[in-house]
Structure formats: structure tokens, C-alpha cells
Amino acid sequence: MDTAQIVLVVMWVGITLYALLAGADFGGGAWDLLAGRSRTGMARRKLIEQTIGPVWEANHVWLIFVIVLLWTAFSGVFASVMSTLYIPLTLAALGIIARGTAFAFRKAARELWQQRLFGGAFAISSILTPFFLGTVAGGIASGRVPPGLARGNIFTSWLNPTSLLGGVLAIMVCVYLAGSYLCDDAVEAGRPELAEWFRARALIAAVLIGAVALGGIAVLRLDAPQLFTGLTHRALPLVVAGAVFGVGSLILLWRRVYPLVRATAMLGVITILWGWALAQYPVMLPPSLTYRQAAAEPAVLTATLVVTAIGVALIAPSMTWLLAVQRRALRDAGTPE
């Protein structure tokens, strides 16, 4: 493996963690919207708040990490993507602002109308942000971002069938991930009746994802043939594994084996993301710009990897501690005084 390849893998690990961790936080926002009226939904919203509260900022940092790695190691790709897709990315950025601040402010608010207002902003931005990020992924995957500054069409690069598929799929994956985590968390917090409520709706979400994914095959075949070929040839084992994990997690959810649902849902997302990567490797910007052409100079890649390695050594134990704290917070929150 050359250094550029290692950086590429590290970056994709970052994207995967962002999807698994922050994706579930976005999904939590969507569940907040579905949680019912102020009074009936209160316990559900509190559970969501508990699961997101201590971790969302740390989870959010993965996005910054990936962006910075991309601009350091593949500067030209970063510039091409950002300049062509500046509309959905600006909207995603605004969604990130609204989501983070509204979530923090809601807890500080005292009046019901304030909590509703901030809650609404939190929930809606939690749905729009992954949608726009999904359209960006679709635009890149379907080869609509040519190398160079703003060389692509600033509208059709993200308003196209593959982008819409990406956006919808991103929302649904976030919802499903959060739903499966919340079932597990509710049991952990000693509130199995909340888990039942999330379970019923997560089952519906799982079926819908399956339907969208099946429809997506047709979309990709027509709209992104290069990606389609990759997915049906080289990445086929991962695609099949993704389907197996999806169905498996549906069955486990039905049978209420929540810790395993969490694991299979995560594996499902991992296989989708790595399937996409494998389908288009070594091309970074389809149709033809490869990671090798786009890579920064070796000195830069080495320095980046050194810093990343030090970072992992510092972050991994701290992150483990934080997640343990979050689990303990959940258990405490459920137990009476």
C-alpha cells in the first residue's frame, strides 16, 4: 500500500464513523419530529436528548476531520467538489448550524413555545442536512463533478436522479440507525415501553429502505452506469452482504434482540459505504480522475499520517471513556431518584 492509499482508507474510515455516529444523531432529530405531541412525546424526546447530548459534538468532529484530510491529501478533488456543489454544501452547512445550536438551545429554553420552536428547527435541520450531504455523494458518484473549479453544472450536479436517491437514502439510513440504537438505549435506560414505540416505527423504516434500495438499482443503472457496473461486479459481495445485514437486522428487530440489531444495522451501513468505495476505486472523481493523480506530495501524506496516528492514540481511549459515560448517563436517567 502506498501512502496515498493509506490516507484514502483513513478518510473512508472517518466517513464511515461519521455516518454511524453522527448519522444516528441526525436520525435522532428525525425521530424527535415523529415523537408525537408535546406531552405524549416528552419521554421519547428526553431519551433522544439523553443519547445525543454528551456525544454529538464529538461525533460531529468526524466531518471536520474528513474535510480537512480531503483538502490536505487530495486538494484538487476538494476544490472541485466544493466549487461545483456549493449550493447543497452551503445548505448542509446551514443545516449543521441550525441543528447544533437549536439542540443546545432547546435544553436551555424554559417555555414550551421556545422548546417547540427550537425543537422544530432541530428536527427539520436534522432531516435536511443528511439529505443535502446525500445529494453531494450522488453528484460525485454519478460523475457530475469534473476536475477543476466550478466546471460542473451548479444545479444538475445535485438535482439529478442519483443525487435524489442519495439524499433520500441518507435520511432513511440515519432514521433507521437512530431507531435501532434508541430501542437498545431505551431498554438500557429501563424503559422497555419506549423501545416498543421505536421498534414499531423502525420496522416500517427498514421496509422502506429496502424498497428504496431496490428502486435505486434501476436509477443507478440508468443514471450512473459506471457506478452500477462497479456495484454489480467488483463490489457485488459487499452489496450482497449489505442486503443480508439489512434483512437480518429486520428479523432481529422483529424478535427484539436489540443489541444485535444495533450491530447489524451498523454493518449494513458499513457495507453500503465500502461497497460504493470499492465500486469506484481507484477513481475519485468519475469518470476518470484517480486518487493517485489527485494525491498530494509524499511529504504531505506522511506528515498527515503521522499526525493522524498520534491523534488516534489520544482520541481512542478518550472516546471510549466518553461512550462509557454516555451509557452510564442512560442507566442513571432511567432509574428513579
Binding site: R39, G53, A58, I64, V68, I97, K107, A150, A333
Partner: protein
């Protein structure tokens, strides 16, 4: 292999409206974030100092203050984290001409900053959650990484800005960057004075802003010990840093005279290269002259070279096309220095009274000024960044890349600017409102704080 990279530098024309919009959007989001960044660096220091005092003395007022500040940090950190994220987006959305070519040169400090940010977010979560559940000393220790990582972030981000002012660590042939040395780029000659100036400024902003809240409380008649401590501790910290900052500023001026003489000339509105250059305060630029200013003869030469004979390079040394807008830079510079000395006076006022009588100055004017001291400090920081950024124009990467070549050539950037401005206007109002709301709140308000999941009372 490098051929496609040329597509990154061959930028189409952005309209003047889009270029201005992009610059204003960057200025707005940077200017907004910087206040929160200052609080993010300085407030953990205040919180840890006062918590430590609380543990040492067993005084409940200290502990209550520490708890209040921790809540505020929790809420403000959310706003700081997301407003910082937008900046990393905007580097690409607005300035792909810079990032596409120089992203690899300038990336290392940002990558390192990403790690510092991680540590900050993780330990803030732990610190706020662990309140009251672990022994106080262990809890205090868990807060230290927040302070260290916050300060490190400020250092690293300013390293990247320093590089834009003193670009090093690469060679450029035919528009393509080669022989990149990321470490040399990161530790460029402008790092020392820029990072020192910024980090000290962050402690001043945080100290004066927090103190201002309690000064306002005292003006409203809350003359208890809680308010006195809430005012004195942050104000003292900031007041100690104020004279240090003036010395650091002097050092920065000397470094800029060496690295970017044009920027210094614009800051002082010095048009003619001369020995015995005066220090001009205020005034209006008309044509190629500064008029109606107060001049201190030989002042600038003395400050820069400690001699009246020191020759200071004026704006006439460079063609008009590479001069920054003099009026803006000069006024911003004077505003920054003016605010710095105002804060120094205020600090001296308190120091004198405390030395003589062990109490606050009796004049209500002291409290009025102290209540506004945070605003003065924020104005100084904003003005200082205006000097740094506008003073670098027309360059984005000094001497290498013009701002008009760095901007995104995609049409319609001004629409984005309008939308972003509206969002920030709402965000500002809401943030201030929420800060007022949580001022006296004793219940959990920060996202990381613990709370129970309870059913609504059925009535």
C-alpha cells in the same frame, strides 16, 4: 499527472459582486466565530481557576460560579463548534482557487487542529457529565484537556493564517505547487507573533466579557460576594493580560515591518518611505495623503527601530495594484490600539484602588465601563483581524495568489451571502437571548449535562 491541476488555477472570472459577497461572507462567519472561539479558549481557564479556588477554600460561592460558567461553556461550545465547521466548508465553497492549489501546503495545522477539537469536545462532554459524581480533584483534572486543547486549536488555526501572511514550504513552477514541506509551512515566520497575539486576546475577551456580566449585575444592585467574585476573578485575569498584550502587539508590529512592510504602511497610513516616520492617529485618506490626523513625530521609527533614523517603508514602495485599502486598515488599526489602551486604563484604575483600599473604585462610571469592557475587547479583536486580513489584500496567499484568483468562479455567490447573513442575524439574536435565559438558571441547560427521563405529571 500535473496537467489537470492547471484546471485548478485557470480560474474563470467571478463577477465583482460575487467577489465582494464571498469576502463579506467569510468576514462575517469568521468575525462571528472568533468571539465564540475566544470564549472557548478563555472560559475554561476561568472555570478551572475558580473551581480550583473553590476546592482549596471550600467556599460555596466559587463552586456556584464555576458551575454557572460550565453551563455557559456547554451551550456556547455548541455554537462555536458549528460556526467553526462552516468556516471549514467555506474554505472550499468560497476559496477553491486557494484550496485546490495550496490545500496540501496548509493542511497540516488544520489536520492537527481537528484532533485538538476532538479532545476538546470529548473532555467537555466528560467534564460536564461527571460534575458531582467523581472526587472534585479528579473532576478538575478532567477539565484540563479542554483548556489545553482549546488553546492548541487557537494556535493551530492561527498557524494556518500566519502561513497566508508569510507563505513558506513550497516552490511553484508553472502554476503547480511542488517540493512541499508541510512542517516548514506550518512553522512559518509569522507564527510566533500572530499566535501569541491571538491567544492573549482570547483570554482578554473571555475575561472582560464574563466580568462585564457581573459588573452589570452590580450596577443593578446585586452587591453580594457572589457578584464581586464573579467580577473580580475574570477581570483580574484579563487585566493582567492587557499590558502583556500591548507588549506582544509591539513585537507583532516589528515582525510585520519585516515580513509585510506594505501592511504596516497601510496600518499607519504611511504613504512615503522615510526616516523619522511619524506615528499618525486617526485622519482621513484623501488621494495619496493622510489628512487631519494627530501626528507623533518620529513615533513610528522609534517604535519599529528604537531610533529616529529608522527608515520605514511607505506605500510608495509598491505599485498601486498591490496596495491594500489604506483607510480601512488604518482605522481598524487605530481602533484596535485605542481599545487596548482603554482596557489598560480600566485595569490600572482597578489595580490602583485595590492597592490603596482593597475595594472596587466607588465611581459608578467604573462599573459602567467594566460592564462594557468585554465589548471593547471584542471590538479590538475584530479590528485586529481586519488589519490582518484586509491588510494582506489584494493577496490571499501573500505574494503568490490574489483574492480574485482564489474565489469560486461559480455564479450567484451573492445569493449565498444574503442567506448566510440572515441566518447569522437570527443566530446572534437567539444566542444572546439564550445566554440571558440561562444566566441565573440552576437546572441542567448544557446538552452534556445530566437530566432524568420523566413523564409529564398527569393532572
Amino acid at each position: 499527472m500535473a496537467t489537470w491541476r492547471l484546471a485548478l488555477s485557470a480560474v474563470g472570472p467571478a463577477t465583482p459582486a460575487d467577489l465582494i459577497a464571498a469576502r463579506l461572507q467569510m468576514a462575517l462567519s469568521l468575525g462571528w466565530h472568533i468571539v465564540l472561539a475566544c470564549l472557548g479558549v478563555g472560559m475554561p481557564a476561568l472555570m478551572l481557576i475558580i473551581q480550583w479556588r473553590g476546592i482549596r477554600t471550600g467556599d460555596a460561592d466559587y463552586t456556584r460560579l464555576a458551575r454557572q460558567w460550565a453551563k455557559a461553556i456547554g451551550v456556547l461550545f455548541a455554537a462555536g463548534a458549528v460556526s467553526g465547521t462552516i468556516l471549514s466548508f467555506e474554505m472550499g465553497l468560497l476559496w477553491p482557487g486557494m484550496m485546490g492549489t495550496y490545500g496540501q501546503v496548509i493542511g497540516l495545522p488544520f489536520a492537527t487542529e481537528g484532533i485538538a477539537f476532538f479532545i476538546e469536545a470529548i473532555f467537555l462532554g466528560i467534564y460536564l457529565y461527571a460534575w458531582g459524581r467523581v472526587p472534585p480533584k479528579v473532576h478538575l483534572l478532567s477539565g484540563i484537556p479542554v483548556l489545553v486543547a482549546g488553546t492548541a486549536s487557537a494556535f493551530l488555526v492561527v498557524c494556518a493564517n500566519a502561513w497566508m501572511n508569510a507563505p513558506r514550504g513550497f516552490t511553484r513552477t508553472d502554476g503547480v505547487v511542488r517540493q512541499v514541506s508541510p512542517w516548514r509551512a506550518m512553522f512559518n515566520p509569522a507564527v510566533l507573533h500572530e499566535t501569541l497575539h491571538m491567544i492573549v486576546a482570547a483570554f482578554m475577551v473571555a475575561g472582560f466579557l464574563v466580568a462585564g456580566v457581573y459588573a452589570a449585575g452590580m450596577l443593578r444592585g446585586h452587591r453580594d460576594r457572589y457578584h464581586l467574585l464573579g467580577f473580580l476573578v475574570p477581570f483580574t485575569l484579563a487585566a493582567v493580560f492587557t499590558p502583556i498584550q500591548i507588549l506582544v502587539g509591539d513585537f507583532a508590529g516589528k515582525r510585520i515591518a519585516e515580513l509585510q512592510p506594505t501592511k504596516l504602511a497601510a496600518a499607519e497610513a504611511l504613504f512615503r518611505t522615510q526616516a523619522g516616520a511619524p506615528l499618525s492617529i486617526g485622519g482621513i485618506v484623501i488621494g495619496d495623503r493622510l489628512r487631519y490626523s494627530i501626528e507623533i513625530p518620529y513615533g513610528l521609527s522609534l517604535l519599529v527601530g528604537h531610533s529616529t533614523d529608522t527608515v520605514i517603508q511607505g506605500l510608495d514602495a509598491v505599485p498601486r495594484a498591490v496596495r491594500p485599502p489604506v483607510m480601512i486598515v488604518h482605522l481598524a488599526f487605530d481602533t484596535m490600539v485605542g481599545m487596548g489602551f482603554l482596557l489598560l486604563l480600566l485595569s490600572a484604575w482597578l489595580a490602583y484602588n485595590w492597592w490603596r483600599r482593597k475595594e472596587l473604585p466607588r465611581s459608578r462610571w467604573f462599573l459602567r465601563a467594566a460592564a462594557l469592557s468585554g465589548v471593547f475587547a471584542v471590538i479590538a479583536v475584530e479590528a485586529g483581524w481586519t488589519v490582518t486580513e484586509v491588510g494582506r489584500q489584494p493577496w490571499t496567499v501573500y505574494g503568490h495568489l490574489r483574492t480574485s484568483d482564489a474565489v469560486n468562479p461559480a455564479p450567484g455567490l451573492w445569493v449565498g451571502f444574503v442567506v448566510v447573513t440572515l441566518v447569522y442575524a437570527v443566530l446572534t439574536v437567539v444566542t444572546l437571548y439564550v445566554m440571558r435565559l440561562i444566566r441565573w438558571s440552576e437546572r441542567p441547560v448544557a446538552p452534556q449535562e445530566r437530566e432524568r427521563i420523566h413523564e409529564p405529571e398527569t393532572s
